[in-house]
């Protein structure tokens, strides 16, 4: 996949997303929540980039900032050669046609007063009206497309006049996927699409997503907190902690050879559904909780919980160190110029 030198489809450079905290009578802005703090990565065509991390680490904010649902505080999001942060509304419309999202909660992400047909057809109708589709579609053609999409994601086409409350969680997620596919996008940003589903349904949706990827040559940015799910679906994996990128590598490489102490702890904490392995495993149990992202720290953000910390980490923020072409890690342990004993 990413072996050949390809132009990245999506490039994120120094993305920052701060949310102001306001207090007092005049809503004075006292400080900022640094939800995403200076992260950069690339997504190549046809691959799946998995983003893992604990809640509050900024995974969802990252994809929302990429889709410009929040206006980023700083940085660039370059999609097909254009910086989306500086795009006009018209350009954004064009970009959104190729960049769609799937959301976590299949109950909240569908309008309960719209029928399935109108939910899936809505993007088509909007773009059709503005003559932004390859060729303009008649109402019958839109109808036809909706039916094909429903069939493709495994929904009976006879259900198109039903409302979302008549469907189960897994089926609603299929509706969300059909809606995202309606405009034949190039990249899909999937924000925890399987977290709210039961295991047996989760497997169905994961299989559906990988089938669709093969069929339409889609690129995914896939968020999950379940490490096994990420390992299964991703070509490359990025690990986030407190708004920062900690490690990014090929999926197999990352799971076989985690370098950052946080990645190691995360992998060892994930339960494995096999009692023989699970009972023998030595866990790295991290002490403490994730600190609040509202104060600036002079050093590594993982310092408080890190089992391998040394004094240098407390005062210096690690930058990305290239272990090899495909493996980058933000940890002082791997910087040869820094001495651990210092």
């Amino acid at each position: 996949m990413s072996e050949q030198k390809k132009e990245p489809l999506l490039q994120v450079k120094g993305l920052k997303q701060y949310f102001p905290i306001s207090t007092g009578f005049f809503n004075k802005k006292t400080s900022f929540i640094r939800a995403v703090d200076d992260i950069s990565f690339e997504v190549f065509p046809g691959e799946t980039l998995g983003i893992v991390g604990e809640s509050g680490c900024g995974k969802s904010t990252t994809v929302r900032s990429i889709a410009q649902l929040y206006k980023p505080t700083a940085g660039e999001v370059i999609f097909e050669g254009k910086d989306l942060c500086k795009s006009t509304e018209q350009e954004m419309l064009m970009a959104r046609k190729n960049m769609q999202m799937i959301f976590q909660d299949p109950y909240a992400s569908l309008d309960s007063r719209m029928t399935i047909r109108s939910i899936i057809a809505e993007p088509l109708i909007i773009y059709n009206k503005r003559h932004m589709l390859e060729k303009s579609l008649s109402n019958d053609e839109i109808e036809q497309r909706v039916e094909n999409l429903m069939e493709r994601v495994g929904l009976n086409r006879l259900f198109k006049n039903r409302y979302p409350h008549e469907f189960s969680g897994g089926q609603r997620q299929r509706i969300g996927i059909a809606r995202a596919l309606a405009l034949q996008p190039k990249i899909i940003l999937a924000d925890e699409p399987v977290s709210a589903l039961d295991v047996s349904i989760q497997a169905q949706i994961l299989n559906l997503l990988s089938d669709l990827q093969k069929e339409f040559g889609l690129t995914y940015v896939f968020i999950a907190h379940d490490l096994a799910v990420i390992q299964h679906i991703s070509t490359r994996v990025a690990v986030m902690y407190l708004g920062k990128l900690m490690e990014i590598a090929d999926a197999l490489e990352l799971y076989a050879n985690p370098l950052h102490p946080y990645t190691e702890a995360l992998l060892s904490a994930a339960p494995i559904p096999d009692p023989k392995i699970e009972r023998k495993r030595q866990r790295i149990i991290l002490s403490g909780d994730v600190p609040s992202p509202d104060h600036v720290q002079p050093g590594c953000y993982f310092y408080d919980r890190c089992p391998k910390k040394f004094p240098y980490c407390k005062t210096h923020i690690p930058s990305f160190i290239h272990i090899n072409e495909k493996h980058k890690v933000a940890c002082w342990l791997y910087d040869k110029t820094v001495h651990v004993t210092e």
Binding site: D198, Q202, P273, L286, D289
Partner: protein
């Protein structure tokens, strides 16, 4: 670990809890039987809506009535049937000898009261002779045991001043403050992150071992089951479909549902990456007015004709492993069921 001939602490026999809805009677729990031994951790696994939580709410008699009603069965604790006890005696058991931790630690603590108030109240309710000072001291000791730093100060905080993982620790401290014999943990880590989940699970394991508490762990995460439980009951549509020792269940699952469930979880090893996940097609059934059949038959890849007409009997594969599936029934049983279905 499980010792042979361990004493049975809690026994559930043919429990049936139904809810009256406008659409009909919802059989949330329909004939569940299991027993819990001393010092054992029993897992209850199943998808949402399979009746795991209602089973445990029924054990504590916390099912809201109406619409819920426990219509049949027995729950034996210390030789007494909990379902027949008067409310006054029930109070002596609930929260005292049988304690519960819930999924969402925020909604199960009172946001208006300090942790100290809530913990002292629990202790003093169950032990009439303890002074306020002693109860507070016990609360602090419990908080220390569950690993809350600076417990002397933190005990006077309000729930919102704790993080999710810390709140769950407080819940565990409260649940165990009366030296409970049985701890029911209803998805205790579902709302938590993996690193925090690992902390909490280790804590439950350590404390139950030290205090000799038997644990019923409800979860949908097979990974958690593999690490924590001695025995597992798999639930589907309000019934237990398979019951076995954890190792047995994972190495030789007998029921097609258990098999599918284990196979559909992605594994963290490179070999399984390229493969498609095994998936159980279809949706869990609606348990309102379920016809007499195996509720899993529409999704089952080994479905036979008989499965559509009669509920399969329980079959013991060995002492600890039993399964409810027609695949393992005798010919005589099948014939009898087929005749009954015709009639």
């Amino acid at each position: 670990m499980l010792k042979p001939n361990a004493k049975t602490v809690l026994e559930v026999k043919n429990l049936q809890t139904y809810f009256g809805t406008d659409a009909g009677i919802l059989k949330a729990v329909d004939g569940v039987s299991f027993s819990l031994h001393e010092n054992e951790t029993l897992g209850l696994v199943g998808e949402s809506g399979s009746g795991k939580s209602v089973t445990n709410l029924s054990i504590m008699r916390l099912v809201q009535s109406p619409p819920g009603k426990i219509v049949g069965g027995q729950i034996l604790f210390e030789g007494k049937d909990i379902l027949k006890l008067p409310e006054s005696e029930l109070r002596n058991i609930r929260g005292n000898k049988v304690s519960m931790i819930f999924q969402d630690p925020m909604t199960s603590l009172n946001p208006f009261l300090r942790i100290s108030t809530q913990m002292v109240e629990t202790i003093r309710l169950h032990e009439k002779n303890i002074s306020k000072q002693d109860a507070l001291q016990r609360s602090i000791d419990m908080l220390k045991q569950v690993g809350i730093p600076a417990a002397e100060k933190r005990v006077f905080c309000y729930p919102h001043q704790f993080s999710g993982g810390m709140r769950q620790r407080v819940m565990i401290a409260m649940a165990l403050s009366c030296k409970a014999e049985v701890l029911i943990a209803d998805e205790p880590t579902t709302a938590l992150d993996v690193t925090i989940q690992a902390q909490i699970l280790e804590l439950i394991q350590k404390l139950s071992l030290n205090m000799g508490t038997a644990v019923i762990l409800i979860t949908h995460d097979l990974g958690v089951v593999a690490g924590m439980c001695d025995r597992v009951c798999v639930m589907y549509a309000g019934r237990i479909v398979e019951q076995a020792l954890t190792d047995d269940l994972f190495s030789s699952p007998a029921h097609p549902y258990t098999e599918g469930l284990i196979a559909s979880v992605p594994h963290m090893d490179p070999a399984s990456k390229a493969k498609r996940l095994f998936s159980i097609e279809g949706q869990p059934p609606n348990v309102i007015d379920l016809p007499p059949c195996c509720p899993f038959h529409p999704r089952c890849h080994k479905c036979m004709e008989i499965c559509k007409h009669a509920y399969p009997p329980f079959k013991h594969l060995n002492e600890e492993h039993s399964v409810s599936c027609w695949l393992y029934a005798t010919e005589a049983q099948k014939q009898q069921a087929a005749e009954e279905a015709k009639a």
